[in-house]
């Protein structure tokens, strides 16, 4: 195990976040806070409770998850794409680090940033709405699991992308719509039966539902199904990363 190698990648990636605090930290916190103000405080005050929870509090897990997905993907994809773009990837590929260590370094740093941001947004939300966390360990578990899964997904996108457009297209065109339609702002039980069934094909539903359960003990789908689906996504992403390093896809000609 090249411990120093993993640490070096991890520290370099974390340093990148600190170097760009305004963009990496302030921007997601501010934009998520705006959601709280607009949806939670302004619209929420005119809405009834959802699943026995005030609307302002109801949307907190969904909004954190929305931010978490976007940040995990963008941190991890940029983390690996930029060295590819600038050519500095040569050093990582020629170093005595295993594929697993490379992934732990990059994905670990991206997931850490996302989890920290998630917690920061959670604290910020307290300024606007009051909420409770019934299962804090599960909440942290879902936060970390989702951050790792989507950081792995971001890593795959970063390796696959050969231009900035490709880098942005999946988060913008797929992940954000899925997150918006995955019950961030509503319970899927509020939808007509047909659309409820359609929504169950949206993987983000399981992430948000599970995360919301850890807050309020109520969920659209069973917590076990949510956990199972999250682990399935994690396995798919791990398999993709394994395949990338096995074949050298877009990393080693």
């Amino acid at each position: 195990m090249n411990f120093y190698g993993v640490k070096a990648i991890y520290q370099a990636e974390m340093a990148r976040m600190l170097r760009t605090t305004l963009q990496s930290v302030a921007s997601p916190v501010v934009s998520t806070s705006l959601y709280f103000i607009v949806f939670g405080a302004a619209i929420g005050s005119r809405m009834t409770e959802v699943d026995g929870v005030s609307y302002g509090a109801f949307i907190i897990p969904g909004l954190i998850m929305l931010m978490l997905l976007n940040e995990s993907i963008s941190n991890a994809s940029f983390g690996i794409y930029m060295p590819k773009f600038t050519g500095t990837i040569y050093e990582v590929l020629s170093a005595p680090v295993s594929p697993l260590e490379i992934v732990v370094g990059y994905v670990g740093a991206a997931a850490t940033k996302s989890v920290l941001l998630g917690l920061l947004v959670l604290i910020t939300a307290r300024l606007f709405v009051s909420y409770e966390i019934q299962h804090p360990v599960w909440m942290l578990g879902f936060l970390i699991l989702t951050a790792v899964t989507f950081s792995l997904f971001g890593f795959v996108i970063g390796v696959w992308a050969d231009g900035f457009e490709k880098l942005q297209i999946i988060p913008l065109m797929i992940v954000t719509p899925l997150a918006f339609l995955g019950g961030s702002f509503y319970s899927i039980t509020m939808l007509p039966p047909f659309w409820q069934t359609v929504t169950l094909f949206n993987p983000v539903v399981y992430l948000i539902s599970g995360f919301r359960w850890s807050f309020y003990g109520a969920a659209d789908v069973h917590i076990g199904v949510s956990l199972g689906m999250t682990l399935v996504f994690l396995s798919i992403c791990l398999a993709l990363v394994w395949w990338i390093f096995r074949t050298g896809y877009k990393l080693k000609p």
Partner: protein, 374 residues
């Protein structure tokens, strides 16, 4: 047995002859003797100096065996390359653009997957035992590939860590001081000059104390003074026991620094030789004879392939084999005297490595064309 098209030491005299034959006019007996010797070597009756049996006794830090690389496009970048790098030497790899230099280095360093063949770095297979193999190598790439937003100091720390070495700020300071970068340690790389950026790349490669340093065109785009500084630094590294492999377009660089020279062309190593021997064996000399008055044409008695009259008629250029005991100069001067041609000045010069290199590559292309047409 040497790969197709590769030249071993045994063949060098033949190339020397071929290169100089048409201009130097060496005697036919010598050519026949060399060809005969070469045939014997090929048949195994006389061992070639670079045969595996002979190289096995040398302490090789890098051993490349039958390395091939074909890209998805179908382009075959390497065609069965065999190469041994001796511990502690400076080895210059020369070759025209697209010859396969960077592909070869990239495979050894683990940046490109080989199609077939093996690479051993200090006895460690660079695929199966990649950790041990890679930890011994430092690579200075051709392009200025630095993370522009990093500081010099943090990028060095990253490099050392990546190669699994514990922090050693004292060593990093020493490297930066030696490369005149210590004052810039806290500067962002984007604010440095091109020469400094290249030195940062060298510092990064040295930060993990490699036994082998690959310098892929280290002085491309570098001014003369900095180039000299880099050469000095490379020599200092060699004195400390670091093996250096450099690719370069500047023949002058290879001539100045290398202990041995390899020439790669179209994915094949066509020559590996000690630099001094190469210069000696392949070197031709030219004698420029300035005349008092211009000649319209060479007198009949002086007509020979080795002697040319310059277009202005004021100079004669005589090409001869520097190693031959019979250079023919004395005879030529006598003939000039007899022909009543008055000599004003004489100036001799030796062929450079560049002449040799260009000659070899052209010869190989001619051979291939001939082969194809047959």
């Amino acid at each position: 047995m040497a790969a197709r098209g590769r030249v071993d030491i045994g063949e060098i005299p033949i190339y020397g002859v071929v290169l100089t034959l048409h201009c130097a006019g060496l005697n036919q007996l010598m050519v026949r003797r060399m060809l005969c010797l070469n045939r014997l070597r090929r048949s195994g009756l006389v061992a070639a100096a670079t045969s595996p049996a002979c190289e096995g006794s040398v302490d090789n830090i890098i051993q490349v065996n039958q390395l091939t690389k074909s890209y998805d496009s179908g382009f075959q970048a390497l065609k069965g390359v065999n190469l041994s790098i001796r511990r502690g030497e400076i080895f210059a790899l020369l070759g025209p653009n697209g010859a396969g230099k960077t592909t070869l280095i990239s495979i050894v360093c683990g940046l490109v997957n080989a199609s077939s063949g093996t690479v051993l770095v200090d006895g460690h297979d660079n695929v199966r035992d990649y950790r041990k193999a890679r930890s011994k190598i430092g690579l200075v790439p051709q392009e200025l590939t630095n993370n522009m937003f990093d500081s010099v100091w943090s990028t060095l720390k990253l490099s050392r860590g990546l190669f699994g070495k514990p922090p050693n700020d004292g060593l990093l300071e020493q490297i930066l001081r030696e490369l005149s970068l210590w004052d810039k340690r806290n500067d962002r790389i984007m604010n440095l000059s091109g020469g400094m950026k290249r030195r940062v790349l060298i510092a990064k490669a040295l930060s993990h104390e490699p036994d082998v340093l690959f310098l892929d065109e280290p002085t491309a785009g570098v001014d003369v003074e900095l180039r000299r500084d880099m050469w000095d630094m490379v020599r200092r590294l060699q004195q400390r026991g670091v093996t250096i492999i450099l690719t370069t377009h500047y023949i002058e660089e290879a001539e100045e620094m290398a202990d041995r020279i390899g020439v790669i062309s179209e994915g094949e190593i066509i020559l590996i030789e000690e630099k001094d021997k190469l210069m000696q064996q392949l070197g031709t000399k030219q004698l420029a004879i300035q005349l008092h008055s211009a000649l319209e044409q060479l007198p009949e008695s002086l007509r020979a392939d080795a002697l040319k009259l310059t277009p202005d008629g004021y100079s004669l250029i005589y090409t001869f084999d520097a190693q031959s005991e019979q250079t023919g100069i004395a005879e030529l001067l006598k003939k000039l005297d007899l022909a009543g041609i008055e000599v004003k000045d004489l100036h001799s010069s030796q062929s450079s490595l560049e002449d040799i290199f260009v000659g070899l590559v052209h010869k190989r292309r001619d051979e291939q064309r001939l082969g194809e047409s047959q």
